[in-house]
Structures are given as structure tokens and as C-alpha cells.
């Protein structure tokens, strides 16, 4: 077998095959192919692989699948219309990337929003959420709908009234779908924050709004994907712990942003 590492052109054959080489590179490779039987043979084989891939047949879908889907959607209710403002970025993250992003973005978001809003409302003081002792991990509630949990963490007890407790994670795989619909407490919290900010919009810098919107969308996506990951593997304590922490940070961000926006408004109206 030819050792591909000895011939740098060997590594460019797929690009050549796909028409991705620059004209000068293509000409040089074609000249090389006339002299290198190994590369020419490899090119033939790569072409065969590509052709085989493109000709792969579709396996039939198990007939039992649709009835299962039909039952599930009957239980989940009709499709819901999502407001344009909450549309999400479709980028997908690897799990480590996701977990790191959750924490990093949550911290940055909180810091950015806090700093910008504070700049707009220098007299505002919003210490309660930051100084409150950390309560127990927020709990998953029933089927993921907006029921109030029995025990609300202390830091959440001081939140803006509309911000509900956020579930730390789904505890049953069967909750996967229900808990990802827009009416979950988590989504509800975002919705409430958006409403609050919409009310204050005229008084806030557009840059502040955009920053908050963008960061919330990113956090929301990250949490959503983490929840999916956890739904697939509910026993993964590593994911669960990070998800819970990320959600706590998000609640904190929501509390601070809502409170600061409200304070900024009242300061401005004096």
C-alpha cells in the first residue's frame, strides 16, 4: 500500500476530484498524475468511492414508525407559532463546546448587560440576586409545563415576579418533547423578560437590547441542546451538573436584566 504521507499530492486528490483546487494547482497535479501511477490509481479509487456513496440506496422506513409519531404528536398538541424575535441560530455544538459555551456566554452576558444597563442607570442598585445565598438546585417540574415548583430557591424568591423557576434538567426521557416546547418555565422566563424589555425599549439603548437579545438566543440554544443531551442520557451527572449551573446563571441574568431595566425606567421617569 502506498504511504500517502510521502507524496503531498496524495492528500490533494479529493480536492482535485471535487473541483476545489485552484487552476494552477490543478494543472500541477495533472502533470504529476501523468508521472505517478500510485496517485493516478488512488484517484480512480477515490472516484469509485464517491460514485458508490452517491449511489447508495435508501433503506425502507419501518412501517411502525408513523403510528408512533402520530400518537406522540397527538399527546404533544398542535404546532406552536414562535415569535420572530425568538428564532434561533441553527449552529450545532459538540458537547464539550456546548458546556463551555453555556458557562462562558452566561457569564459574559450577565456582565455585559449588567454593565451597559448600569451605565444607563447609574443610581440603580441591584444587589439582592447576587447576595442571596444559593438555594437548592431548581427542579424539573412534572411534565415540564409551567407548574410552580414546591421549593423555590431563595435567590429566585427575590426575582422579578414573572420569572419562574427553571428546571435543572429533565428527569425522564419521556419528558423530552414536552419540556422543549415554548411553554416550558425556561421559555416562559425568556418570554417574560422580552415583554419587560419591550415595555422599556424606548428608554434603553438599542445596542443594549441587541446585546441582550443575542446573548439570550445563544444561551437559549445552548441550554436547549444540553437538555437534549441530557434527555438522551439522563444519568449523565456531568451534563446535569453543568446544565443546572448554566440555568442558575441564566436565571440570574434574567433577574438582573429585568430588574435593571425596570430601575432604569423608573430613574428616567423622575
Amino acid at each position: 500500500m502506498h504511504d500517502a504521507t510521502k507524496d503531498p499530492w496524495m492528500e490533494r486528490l479529493s480536492e482535485y476530484l471535487d473541483g476545489a483546487l485552484e487552476p494552477s494547482e490543478r494543472e500541477a497535479l495533472e502533470a504529476h498524475l501523468k508521472q505517478c501511477a500510485e496517485c493516478a490509481r488512488a484517484l480512480e479509487e477515490l472516484e469509485a468511492v464517491r460514485a458508490r456513496a452517491r449511489g447508495l440506496a435508501q433503506a425502507p422506513v419501518p412501517p411502525s414508525l408513523w403510528p408512533q409519531i402520530e400518537r406522540a404528536i397527538a399527546e404533544s398538541g398542535p404546532a406552536r407559532i414562535t415569535p420572530l424575535g425568538s428564532r434561533r441560530v441553527t449552529r450545532s455544538f459538540s458537547l464539550p463546546e456546548l458546556l463551555a459555551a453555556c458557562l462562558a456566554v452566561a457569564v459574559l452576558s450577565a456582565g455585559t448587560v449588567f454593565a451597559v444597563l448600569r451605565h444607563q442607570a447609574p443610581a440603580a442598585r441591584t444587589e439582592p440576586a447576587a447576595t442571596a445565598p444559593r438555594g437548592p438546585e431548581p427542579r424539573t417540574v412534572g411534565d415540564g409545563t409551567a407548574s410552580r415548583p414546591e421549593a423555590v430557591p431563595e435567590r429566585q424568591a427575590e426575582r422579578a415576579p414573572s420569572v419562574e423557576a427553571v428546571p435543572a434538567a429533565r428527569t425522564e426521557a419521556g419528558n423530552t418533547l414536552a419540556s422543549e416546547t415554548p411553554e416550558t418555565p425556561h421559555e416562559e422566563a425568556i418570554s417574560e423578560l422580552r415583554k419587560a424589555l419591550a415595555r422599556e425599549r424606548d428608554r434603553l439603548d438599542p445596542t443594549t437590547i441587541r446585546t441582550l437579545e443575542a446573548n439570550l438566543a445563544i444561551i437559549d440554544l445552548a441550554i436547549d441542546q444540553a437538555k437534549r443531551a441530557l434527555a438522551a442520557d439522563p444519568a449523565d451527572s456531568y451534563v446535569k451538573e453543568h446544565l443546572a449551573e448554566t440555568m442558575r446563571r441564566k436565571v440570574e441574568l434574567l433577574q438582573r436584566a429585568t430588574m435593571l431595566a425596570s430601575t432604569s425606567n423608573s430613574e428616567g421617569s423622575r
Binding site: 479529493s14 473541483g19 488512488a42 479509487e45 469509485a48 452517491r54 422506513v61 459538540s94
Partner: protein
């Protein structure tokens, strides 16, 4: 020279315009206008709660989604994933704006769901981490009748990164730029993984 590098990709499932470079909608032209129009009607009906309309959408697109899931994970996972993807699609129909074909939207949703699930399960990471031995479990060159099926098995045994890019590029017709965005890697890494996969698979075809 027997080979002509391709400037366009006449693809069985997704038609890409390679010369355009970097377009983000792999199958935007893969559905004829009548099909797109029918899908659009059914999406509108399904978004209003019409399950039969959604069943028609399922009938039109389930094979492609199921096979995507099967190739990117395993046969065992594909059924569950396909179910999950269509249920999510049902729940998210309200977010579909009709800016692309429904099939494109659904396919992208499917890829995201599959990648998230696979990351969670960490499927095949240890099993497929050995590139050199990746095809050791696959029988030697099969008879013609078994060729397609065993090529599928060879793909299944690729290292995960190479398999993902191979399926998305060579089978599904995504561009490297799109794959890079979806996987959070560079376009160059996507190209390198594709070449890696093809080089491994060619050994299967030639042994």
C-alpha cells in the same frame, strides 16, 4: 486524463451548485416546484393542527431522514431519532417561514438533532477511534449483490469524524462550508476528514 474534476454535483438526493460555493441550503433545489408547493400547503395545514397533512409530509421526507439518521448513527438509533425529528418538526412548524424548501428545513433540523444526540451518547467514539483498524470487522470485497450493503457497513465503521463528513458531503450533498458550520470545525478540517474517509474506504474497495 481519465478524470475530470467536477464543477457540479449531479447528486441523487441533494442537488448542490458547487460553483456557487458556500451556499447554506443543500437541498434547496432538490424538490421540484410542484412538490415544494404541495409541501407548503401541507405545512400550513399541519401548523394548524392537521395531522393528515403532517402525515403527507412524513411520507414525502421520512425515507431521506431515516437514512440520514441510520448512516450517521446506527440502525438501532435511527428509528428513535427519526421519530424524535418528526415530532420536533411538528412542534416547530410554526417557526418555518417558507424561506427555503420544507425538505431543506427538515433536513437541517434532523442533522442538528442527530449531532446533539450523538454527542450525548458519545456513540462509537471508542469503537471507531482506531483509523487503521476501522474496516477490520468488514468482510473482504463482497459479491456484487452484496456490494451496496457492505459498502454501507464499511461507512458505518469509519472513524466518527470522517464518517460524519463523508455522509454529509458525499451522501447528502452538503458543502464543506456548511459542514464546518454545523460541526463547529474549519472548512479545511472538513476537507481533510472527507479525504481521510475516502482513503479508508478505497482500501475496502480494493482489497
Amino acid at each position: 486524463m481519465r478524470f475530470q474534476p467536477q464543477a457540479s454535483r449531479p447528486h441523487p438526493t441533494v442537488r448542490m451548485n458547487q460553483s456557487a460555493g458556500g451556499t447554506m441550503t443543500p437541498s434547496q433545489d432538490s424538490e421540484g416546484l410542484p412538490s415544494r408547493g404541495k409541501d407548503r400547503e401541507d405545512v400550513a395545514l399541519a401548523a394548524g393542527g392537521d395531522v393528515r397533512a403532517f402525515e403527507r409530509l412524513y411520507g414525502a421526507h421520512s425515507a431521506r431522514i431515516f437514512n440520514l439518521a441510520r448512516r450517521m448513527t446506527t440502525n438501532e438509533s435511527a428509528v428513535d431519532l427519526t421519530q424524535d425529528i418528526f415530532i420536533r418538526a411538528w412542534q416547530k412548524l410554526g417557526t418555518f417561514r417558507g424561506e427555503s424548501a420544507f425538505g431543506t428545513w427538515l433536513h437541517r433540523l434532523a442533522v442538528n438533532v442527530i449531532l446533539a444526540r450523538r454527542a450525548a451518547l458519545r456513540t462509537e467514539q471508542s469503537r471507531l477511534s482506531d483509523e487503521e483498524g476501522a474496516l477490520d470487522g468488514v468482510p473482504a470485497r463482497p459479491g456484487r449483490a452484496e456490494l451496496g450493503m457492505d459498502f454501507e457497513r464499511a461507512v458505518e465503521h469509519l472513524p466518527e469524524g470522517a464518517k460524519t463528513v463523508f455522509v454529509l458531503y458525499d451522501v447528502e450533498g452538503y458543502q464543506h462550508e456548511e459542514i464546518a458550520t454545523m460541526l463547529g470545525i474549519s472548512s479545511g478540517t472538513s476537507k481533510a476528514q472527507l479525504h481521510r474517509a475516502r482513503m479508508i474506504l478505497r482500501r475496502y474497495l480494493t482489497r
